[in-house]
């Protein structure tokens, strides 16, 4: 166990990602448009009752998604919140598997069990979306401690919302990370609101990144509508984290729609909504790249058409993916066999526990 007095134990390697070049600037844009189109399609599928439950979208958060994901090494770990579709895509999970999960189908990243809030994919080191606010924060901290013990050069990035900074688990985690010099970057995605409650109404220190001071942790606030700013900030933060200096980064962006698809966001004034739409990060970034000569009208149309086609294919795939079978209802409750485990639905055949305890 690292002790409170131990210095950072080892020099980790410097960041591998170079500063964003032109190709990267364009890649940000592609990523942002994909997330935008994906989320719009998800919202549509929700209103068509193809997606149920609660569904939280990254609309307005696209620049943060793109910048953050590009700054991670493939071996880094990402813990997300329930607002995770975009991050799952950007981490490299196939759009059709993300969409199928939203549809609750077996080809989804969580086999239809997670739905919108609980995607998980070990291959891409996407360590999950979490439906309990703050639930992921101590877990991410533990994963960082595991890196420390196992001696890798990886780092953990843990996403959380502005509202989440008021829950005890956040403070407990930051203290542990600082005390033990863990390779972790906590990223507060500040969209100004936790459901209908503003940051100012909920946080005695509304400059959320300053909360790091309580743990002598490095921190910064950055424009979450600018993918390059987010990219640079995450790279800086990761470099510190890999050297044993955990980091608190705050990205500031807007939430273009309600808290979830069903929330009409009536608590927001018309003027506020209009201001948000005017600051739309995808449109603003297109204008910027256009001005820099990187984007043409034709390229914009092409990128849009690509994203739209990808998303349509994902929805089609999801639509045709099978529903989970009722015989799998009991699987995976436990990792080891349970004697006399009742795996039976009333009036239906017994689903036997295989001899090795591992369901087919």
């Amino acid at each position: 166990m690292p002790t409170s007095t131990s210095a950072p134990r080892r020099r980790r390697r410097p960041p591998t990602n170079p500063a964003a070049d032109d190709a990267q600037l364009l890649a940000f844009y592609r990523q942002m448009v994909l997330v935008r189109r994906f989320e719009e399609r998800a919202a549509r599928a929700y209103t068509e009752a193809r997606i149920g439950g609660y569904c939280h979208l990254n609309l307005g958060e696209e620049a943060t998604v793109a910048g953050l994901a590009a700054a991670l090494d493939p071996t880094d770990y990402l813990f997300a919140t329930y607002r995770e579709h975009g991050y799952a895509l950007a981490r490299g999970i196939a759009p059709e598997r993300v969409m199928a999960e939203l549809y609750g189908r077996t080809d989804g990243v969580s086999g239809g069990w997670g739905g919108s809030m609980h995607m998980f994919d070990a291959d891409t080191r996407f360590m999950g979306g979490y439906g309990i606010v703050g639930g992921q924060v101590p877990l991410a901290t533990g994963a960082a401690l595991a890196i420390e013990y196992r001696g890798g050069g990886e780092a953990v990035v843990c996403l959380l919302g502005d509202g989440t900074t008021n829950i005890g688990a956040f403070h407990e985690s930051l203290n542990l990370a600082a005390l033990w010099h863990l390779p972790i970057v906590y990223v507060i995605v500040n969209n100004g609101l936790g459901m209908g409650t503003t940051v100012e109404q909920a946080s005695a220190e509304p400059e959320l990144h300053r909360r790091a001071a309580a743990y002598r942790m490095d921190s910064a606030r950055v424009d979450g509508n600018d993918p390059t700013a987010v990219y640079d900030a995450v790279r800086t933060a990761l470099a510190g984290a890999r050297a044993g200096r955990p980091y608190l980064l705050e990205t500031v962006s807007g939430r273009l729609k309600g808290h979830s698809v069903v929330d009409p966001a009536k608590y927001r004034s018309r003027a506020e909504a209009a201001a948000l739409a005017a600051a739309d990060p995808v449109a603003a970034y297109a204008v910027r790249l256009h001005g820099a000569g990187l984007l043409t009208d034709e390229l914009i149309a092409e990128i849009d058409a690509d994203a739209t086609a990808t998303v349509a294919a994902a929805a089609d795939f999801a639509e045709h993916s099978p529903h989970p079978d009722v015989s799998t209802l009991f699987d995976h409750t436990y990792a080891t066999p349970v004697p006399n485990d009742a795996r039976r639905l009333p009036g239906e055949p017994l689903f036997p526990v295989p001899a090795n305890g591992v369901p087919a």
Binding site: G53, Y54, A169, M195, G196, L329, T333, D341, A342, G347
Partner: protein, 337 residues
């Protein structure tokens, strides 16, 4: 809740959600020490709009928008109650009550006992619970067993608009902590409520109630399963079988005298809840009925409930939740002996 303009007197057709809203309104009017607190309960009126309009009418000091901090919400409610207030805390969903579990079980439940009766904690914890809304874990849980298992807490759950309206007021007036479980999938069900009737005219808070007389088999449920019981009795009647239905209303304390009385007549009992049957409320009820009514029973007590798994994928919840078929199967089983 849609913004229905409802006259606040006379007999009204109300949803369970609106009845809770009006019950809380009455509680705030009746006692200046009553406070509501929770995430988004004020300006937004709560995720299910149960506290809609109350902050506007009673002010920010009576209806407090709390930061996202369940443990902090319940903990501060306890502190307020120690100094004479009657806080009503809203947890947005069942699964979100668990971050506050520490305060509820370690402080709220034990303070009266620990202080040898010098401190009373008239705190109400409102929790929308149960499944059937197409959502997954955390949003569909049935946590009643945890709370009912904890001595020092009282646990109640209304199933009709009338009960919702009166029981929430009675819970606020109770000097013990009350975990008030609201069947969220039923918020929109309607029924008549007499808004002029005084709280004192309602049945006692902790009493169960036979709500349909029958002769062949007793079926007990509460909260979200009451509708299932009604449907089952209708279907059974078509087959010439008469079910007697009991709404428990209170899970702690359990009021089982009406159940014993019923089982002595019918000789058969089925207990229905969404919570997993494994060590669930039906286990306790079966044990007590078996010892009280042993010689009257024609068959072992049958149980219908959730399985011993976490709340499943949304596409499978219809298999997890008790429904008409499963209840009637269980009734059939009581006749198979």
């Amino acid at each position: 809740m849609a913004k229905q303009q409802i006259p606040l007197t006379g007999a009204q057709q109300l949803t369970i959600g609106k009845a809770l809203n009006l019950g809380l309104r009455r509680a705030l009017e009746d006692d200046p020490k009553v406070l509501l607190m929770g995430e988004d309960v004020g300006r937004l009126g709560g995720v299910f709009r149960i506290t809609d309009g109350l902050q506007k009418d009673f002010g920010e000091d009576r209806v407090l928008d709390s930061p996202l901090a369940e443990s902090g919400i319940v903990g501060t409610a306890i502190g307020l109650a120690m100094r004479g207030y009657r806080p009503v805390c809203e947890m947005q969903f069942d699964g979100f009550s668990y971050p506050a579990f520490d305060q509820v079980t370690n402080q709220l439940a034990k303070m009266h006992y620990r202080s040898r009766g010098r401190i009373t904690l008239p705190v109400v914890i409102r929790i929308p619970y149960g499944g059937g809304i197409g959502s997954v874990e955390h949003h569909s849980e049935s946590p009643e067993t945890y709370y009912a298992h904890t001595a020092g807490l009282k646990v109640v759950t209304p199933a009709t608009p009338r009960d919702a309206y009166f029981m929430v007021q009675q819970a606020v007036r109770c000097d013990d902590p009350v975990v008030f479980l609201e069947p969220k999938a039923r918020y929109y069900e309607k029924g008549e409520v007499d808004l002029d009737a005084p709280v004192a005219s309602a049945e006692p808070l902790f009493a169960s109630r036979v709500f349909r007389a029958g002769t062949d088999c007793t079926v007990v449920g509460y909260g979200p399963t009451i509708r299932v019981l009604r449907e089952s009795a209708d279907a059974a009647a078509e087959d010439g079988r008469s079910l007697e239905l009991v709404d428990l209303r209170s899970l702690s304390p359990l009021d089982l005298d009406p159940v014993y009385e019923s089982v002595r007549r019918t000789g058969r009992l089925v207990v229905v809840h969404e919570a997993p049957t494994n060590l669930g409320p039906s286990a306790e009820i079966a044990a007590r009925v078996t010892s009280e009514c042993f010689y009257s029973l024609e068959a072992p007590v049958q149980r219908v409930g959730g399985f011993n798994t976490p709340y499943p994928a949304s596409k499978l919840e219809e298999h997890f939740l008790p429904d008409l078929d499963r209840v009637l199967d269980a009734v059939d089983r009581t006749f198979a002996y």
